[in-house]
Amino acid sequence: MTEAQDLPGRAAAAPATGRRRGRWPHLALEVRQHMPGPQQALMLGASLVAGIAISTLVLVAAGVPAGNLLDEFVISIFTRPRNLANVLVYTAPLVIVGLAAAVAFRARFWNIGIEGQMIFGAIGATLIANHDIGPEGARLYLMAATAAFAGMVWMLVPALLKLRLEVNEIISTLLLNYVAFNFLLFLLYGPWKDPQSAFPHSKMYDAAERLTRIGFFNVDTSIYLAFALAVGCFLLLVVSRFGFLLNFVHANPKMARAMGVRVAVLVLSAALVSAALAGVAGFVISAGIDNRMTQSFFVGYGFSGILIGFLARNNPVLVVFFAALIAVLMVAGQGLQVFYQIPSSMVLLIQAIIVICAAASEFLIRYRLRLVR
């Protein structure tokens, strides 16, 4: 404080010597006009490298042998096909929840209720599976469609509350997660508990109700579905008229309304698409990974989805990249525990460092640091 108070006085005294503080070389922030795509990618890559470098320093400081990290850890984690398969399995649902977040955020609809919509999606899929509704050949499609529909139904409540009564969707979607979770527990401890064992998970899906494996270890067709949905969202958000109008709404809803854009319809549509995607994510985890609905299948995906949507700046192509990055960080983090017996809190720290560095690239893409002389 005292220094700050001193400064004007010094500055006042300074002209005599011609030395004003502003003349000293210092760093200034400048807004960039636009950075070309490849340069943005380079900036992101450089940020990730910086994050990995910092993480390596942290690990070495914690006693992990530095040479060993490259020639043993990196080689064994990143060259084994089985580890790649595990990354892909985890990537598929992450892509879908990332897309769910990106679509909603593009409309400035802050959907914090992805987990609740996932729960309803899985409930919808399990309803079809439990009652063997529809022919076996169409069962999976029916389950997926019901999951998307159930997610949308669960979204109708907060979306209409927002549009009709201006209830903040951050609060309503978040709180409805707990309602959905308690409904899930009611089903799993009550009417839907495993009839064979009375344990609190739904009965095992039949073979026709499980996503088939594609022949690469345990990777199932959800990876194709995730990529197809990413392409679909790219078309919707980047190519279509809907996406164009949504950009308008994102930039300035009041202006958009004044220009005759039907903002309410657009926001409602984006919220419903987001919820449908979240519902499908619930279906993918239940029918692809767990083969039944469990009590905890959704845990963590809501916030991972928000993180991925944020890092990807709501761009569906980048969603795929960041979902894969989060999946790699998870498997590599477990690898660090297995190899070096570092605590999981240290793994979380390293994952956070890398994610924060990736997020920081956004800053460097928007602004330039310039040395002012």
Binding site: V89, P93, L185, I289, S296, V299, Q337, V338, F339
Partner: protein
């Protein structure tokens, strides 16, 4: 803990049908090379409860065999997290994998089929195979003894109990807590509150406060955190713990029902090494004598005479005494265990009734 384990109605059916389909002539599991155990742990190893109890057992197994036993912690109950952890451990040479959660059951079964040369054990699991053994403890035995301690320090005879979810393995601890309490005070009651979660300190705190406001002066628990004894200590009442010795968190703790996994795992690993390990197709259900749960008892408030009685009952359990021995009639008047009989394991896992004296919704 994380939910349930071993015997199920389906597994029982399998047992009953076994004579019809011919006896299974499974060979004992043969381990390739030296034993290399590794643990996959559900939560953090310093969670103060379920996961920490397993990690402490891991360290005792390490000391016993002179081995270094790696672990991966914080592995949620999702196949997408369990599988990479287990496969990374197997890649690094592990050939005995010890899990720690109900939600690992399906994935462990798949992995056991894919890795027939690896032995799998899963505390709180429900699946079994030629190289996979799920294990749970007869926790009603230790909770029965803690119920005795609770009644011995209660002035009102009204005990409270904070449970996670109302199903078999929580219900059996509540009924056992009452049966134990009535050994000391025939008029004791147990008021149970379910929080709906294994790990929810906020709701556990609310539950303890609500129970204390009704005049209840000892709180038992079957949830994963040490919150109930901590809150009981703040309110000046007593508590009993579960998973680990919770007196480390609060002096209010008068008895703890504690996991002693090393007592189970050490002989199992020895039998795996010896080539005589044959997992039971319906899981292991370890009693106090076999390394399930035991007690750490008692706190200062428990009178000498009661301590002696608790230790007597513990010895009786070690010698084979049955807690759920008939005649037992539930609070709705339905006979659950006939006179002269003891409850079967299938009925324990399916227990959806309470004894008269249990107050719960």
């Amino acid at each position: 803990m994380r939910s349930p384990a071993a015997i199920s109605a389906g597994a029982l059916a399998a047992v009953l049908l076994a004579p019809l389909t011919g006896p299974a002539t499974a060979e004992p599991f043969q381990l390739d090379g030296d034993p290399a155990p590794a643990f996959v742990i559900f939560s953090q190893v310093n969670d103060g409860g379920w996961s920490q109890a397993l990690d402490e057992a891991r360290q005792r197994v390490e000391d016993h065999f002179g081995l270094r036993i790696p672990y991966v912690e914080n592995v949620p109950e999702s196949a997408s997290a369990i599988r990479p952890a287990v496969e990374l451990l197997i890649d690094r040479g592990a050939n005995i994998i010890v899990g720690s959660a109900f939600g690992y059951s399906d994935t462990f079964l798949e992995l056991a089929e894919e890795y027939p040369n690896v032995a799998f054990m899963n505390p709180a699991g429900t699946t079994n195979a030629a190289n996979l053994q799920s294990i749970y403890g007869r926790t009603y035995q230790s909770q029965y003894l803690c119920g005795m301690a609770a009644a011995a320090v209660s002035e009102t005879g009204r005990l409270g109990f904070v449970g996670a979810n109302p199903f078999g393995l929580v219900n059996w601890t509540i009924n056992a807590y009452l049966l134990g309490a009535r050994q000391i005070n025939p008029d004791a009651t147990v008021t149970a509150v379910f929080t709906g979660a294994w790990n929810d300190p906020v709701r556990e705190r609310e539950a303890v406060i609500a129970l204390a406001e009704q005049g209840i002066d000892v709180i038992g628990q079957h949830v994963d955190t040490p919150t109930p004894p901590i809150v009981a200590g703040e309110l000046g009442i007593y508590a009993t713990g579960h998973h680990r010795d919770l007196s480390e968190f609060s002096d209010a703790t008068q008895c703890s029902s504690v996991w002693v996994w090393d007592r189970y795992l050490i002989p199992e690993i020895e039998s795996i090494v010896a080539g005589t390990w044959e997992p039971s197709p319906w899981g292991a259900f370890a009693s106090i004598a076999e390394g399930g749960t035991d007690i750490v008892c008692c706190g200062d408030a428990v009178p000498e005479e009661a301590v002696a009685r608790i230790m007597e009952e513990r010895q009786a359990l070690l010698d084979g005494k049955q807690i759920y021995a008939g005649p037992l009639v539930d609070r709705d008047g339905v006979e659950r265990v006939a006179a002269g009989e003891v409850i079967g394991d299938g009925d324990l896992w399916g227990m959806d009734w309470f004894l008269p004296g249990v107050i719960a919704q």
